[in-house]
Symmetry: C2
Subunit: 143 residues, 2 copies
DNA sequence: GCAAGTAGTAAATATTATATTACTACTTTT
DNA sequence: AAAAGTAGTAATATAATATTTACTACTTGC
């Protein structure tokens, strides 16, 4: 029994990963690490200081100095001194930085939407319900 | 309606990605590209020549020369001359190379299995069925 | 208030990744 | 059998990423 649930889950991973691996295909402007930072900031959706990002991405803070300086120069990030800690600097995504991530999700949306057209109305309902169920249960399993 | 299916799918991605991003956490021995090659070989599950890998991973064959030489030196890959094409060399995973990938999946298995313990028997059955349904329908949607 | 600790920066260095060109040995086409 | 094409290797240059040490300005704990 357990074996079979795991097997289904393992099958799911490549299916979903197909979408995800295409996320960074096009964004040629930015390097791997720069993308990584923007992704992380987008997910956190709040102003972070370098230390936060360093820990969150498991990257040395020394590396971030230049990466973030370049992203700021490019207009993707905004740096503001932290009022509460005068050593620190709060970094947040600019509208341009957010747009980079938004566009990635729009692509996933479009691709998924095309796939949906191949399903009947009944299958679409089934998929919706099954996805909902999976999400609820995976959520419950998480830490 | 469509909006809501997409929304569920978008929610699914981070759930699953949690597992996937941990795949390469520990394998410190190997570089990013070396891991990439081993992953690809593991997925293909057959002997490949450099050209195959080059196309499959969208990497210049010139890059592969050294990557694969190092992997062979490390005992992860085995190189055998192709009998049918004397220019080519067939590369396959050694037991050690397969083990690297196996261990990654074992970790996912274990983590998922721990999560399962938090669910009731009924929920586990629901999850199995819902996952199965999702997999079948996503498969149908793919190219 | 002072010692110890922290956030960020800077610069030097090492390692990886990517790209370009050219070459050998073999295969395919005609 | 000659011409054109292909698989792999080699050497090189540049960019991206990672690591180390050291410094300034500030905060925290005592």
């Amino acid at each position: 029994m357990r074996e079979e649930i795991v097997k289904e889950y393992i099958s799911l991973i490549p299916n979903v990963f197909g979408s995800f691996s295409e996320l960074n295909k096009d964004s040629m402007e930015l390097s791997h690490m720069q993308n990584h930072v923007i992704e992380y900031m987008y997910m956190q959706n709040r102003a972070l200081n370098l230390k936060d990002i360093s820990i969150g991405l498991n990257v040395a803070k020394q590396q971030l100095t230049n990466i973030i300086k370049d992203l700021e120069t490019g207009g993707y990030l905004i740096k503001v001194p932290d009022a509460k800690d005068k050593r620190a600097i709060l970094v947040s995504l600019s509208p341009k930085g957010k747009e980079v991530q938004d566009n990635k999700w729009i692509k996933i949306y479009q691709k998924f939407s095309e796939g949906l057209d191949k399903l009947s109305m009944e299958e679409q309902l089934d998929l919706r319900y099954a996805l909902h169920k999976v999400n609820i249960l995976l959520e419950k399993m998480g830490p």
